[in-house]
């Protein structure tokens, strides 16, 4: 590639970016003026059968990891609120992210990924840390390829990397096969994780009818259509079908 070509290339790029900026600015302006946004508040409930926790016997690094690991397939509150559900709005992908936000931090803590279920955005920084006094390796995979697979020293700051592709990523540790975590990455800001009561809230939604995707690690994915009014906030309660 010659200088000339580089020059040509950068020229093309500059003009393209200029055009894009102008367009985007115009759109933003229009949106800010004419489209009020509202917040969707909701709860996810589950009243089906709750499976027994899986028990895994741990044979290595027991001082840090403990002897036994209980994995709860479904976690619900007293009144049926389903925790650790990822709620996202479909069909809004590509919406410009207003701000990338703080880094998403996943910690290796007592041989558990904290948080075990995380949500993130494209271009957001992912930071993986190791609080344990032992070596961990954090192997994060998208559906098709490794995002990274790195060994982290005991009590180390760890590694940072920008998330580039939307989709579900799995986190595992080849050294401790009982460790498991998930990150759902979106290319739009309209997503939330339910708290221990099953509650969530998605702010800044444009009015209209939207389709929600509701994902749970073991219960799977369901869809629900919601209508966001022009002014008031919307409330929705969604029942996960019983197993």
């Amino acid at each position: 590639m010659t200088n000339f070509h580089d020059h040509l290339q950068s020229q093309v790029r500059i003009s393209a970016y200029t055009m894009m900026l102008i367009l985007a600015g115009a759109l933003n302006f229009a949106q800010a003026e004419n489209s009020p946004t509202t917040t969707l508040n909701g709860r996810i409930l589950y009243h089906g059968l709750i499976p027994q926790p899986e028990k895994q016997v741990i044979t290595q690094d027991v001082e840090t990891c403990g002897n036994i690991r209980k994995i709860f397939p479904v976690v619900v509150s007293d009144d049926g609120g389903l925790a650790q559900v990822v709620v996202s709005v479909e069909g809004l992908s590509g919406t410009r992210l207003s701000s990338i936000g703080d880094p998403l931090i996943v910690q290796n803590e007592k041989c558990v990924f904290q948080p075990p279920i995380a949500i993130g955005s494209v271009k957001q920084l992912l930071e993986v840390k190791n609080f344990d006094p032992i070596l961990h390796n954090t192997h994060i995979r998208t559906e098709t390829r490794a995002f990274f697979n790195v060994v982290l020293l005991p009590q180390s700051k760890g590694i940072k990397k920008v998330m580039k592709q939307p989709g579900l990523m799995t986190i595992s540790c080849n050294k401790h096969p009982f460790m498991m975590g998930y990150i759902q990455v979106f290319d739009h800001p309209f997503h939330a994780l339910t708290d221990s009561q099953g509650a969530f809230s998605i702010p800044n939604l444009p009015p209209g009818t939207h389709r929600l995707a509701i994902w749970h690690r073991t219960l799977g994915t369901i869809h629900q259509t919601v209508t966001i009014p022009q002014s008031n906030n919307a409330d929705v309660t969604i029942e996960f079908p019983a197993r």
Binding site: L8, M20, N174
Partner: protein, 271 residues
């Protein structure tokens, strides 16, 4: 065939404005009298190269890697019927042999190196093809994944080395081997699979068993057994296999990588 055309543009382009960029490019290009005058590799040259690469690929590579590049060619099953490795899936963009950090795409040089050298046990060397032909194949292999268009493929830096293989260095290497828990996969003496293999935990993305090789055989170092090759594999990891990148773990003492390499190489030299 949209994929075929993609790599002919050497420059990155904003996707949504392709048409706009193209037309501007054409106008400017014609105004200044086109690139061949500047002696550059024109897009036509590149597309010719990809077309040649396709023909070569179909003769030399397809039977294992498949015509879609997914590593599911007619012979792929027999190569790794029930245990890893199966032939590489080029569409996923996940490669074991890279000079780039874990999770990144390989550089063109990395791909060229693998084609030229082969992989002991599994892929023969294609040195029988001319250098130009091998570069043609590199270009064609890259067309299988759109990720190449935007990827930053900067090789990692190695600590100055290799260091002389003194007894102290080998001993320090052995310490590093233990500190980094290498034995979990490679066994206490680096010659027999460790506990994780016995538990059936070492698997690739196809859920095939991955056997950690006996490191006392030079042919076990699939990315070459020169000190720098081994150092690179340890620092970048072998994506797709459970072998992780030890780059962060070795950051406090970067020179340790060469001690570790000296220890591993000492295994194949001892009587």
């Amino acid at each position: 065939m949209p994929f075929l055309w993609a790599p002919m543009w050497h420059f990155k382009r904003p996707r949504r404005l392709t048409a706009f960029a193209l037309s501007v490019g054409m106008v400017v290009g014609f105004t200044f009298g086109l690139t061949p005058l500047c002696g550059a590799e024109s897009p036509t040259d590149v597309s010719d190269s990809v077309a040649r690469g396709k023909r070569l690929y179909e003769h030399a590579c397809l039977l294992c890697h498949g015509n879609t590049g997914q590593g599911d060619g007619p012979d792929a099953f027999y190569l790794g019927a029930y245990s890893a490795p199966r032939p590489r899936d080029f569409t996923g963009g996940e490669f074991k042999f890279r000079s780039t950090p874990s999770g990144e795409l390989p550089t063109d040089d990395d791909l060229y190196k693998t084609i030229s050298r082969g992989i002991p046990g599994y892929m023969p060397s294609f040195r029988g093809l001319s250098e130009a032909a091998r570069w043609d194949i590199v270009r064609y292999v890259k067309h299988f994944s759109p990720l190449y268009q935007e990827a930053d493929r900067t090789p990692i830096a190695l600590a100055p080395g290799p260091l002389p293989a003194t007894t102290e260095s080998v001993n320090r290497g052995r310490e590093v081997y233990d500190l980094l828990d290498c034995a979990k996969c490679h066994g206490p003496q680096a010659m027999q699979p460790g506990g994780l293999y016995d538990q059936g935990e070492l698997r690739d993305r196809r859920e095939l068993n991955v056997l950690p090789p006996d490191l006392s055989h030079p042919s076990s170092f699939k990315n070459g057994h020169q000190p720098s090759d081994i150092a690179q594999s340890i620092l970048t990891g072998l994506d797709g296999s459970p072998m992780a990148s030890f780059r962060e773990a070795l950051t406090p003492h970067p020179e340790d990588i060469w001690h570790l390499v000296n220890y591993l190489l000492s295994l194949s030299q001892s009587p």
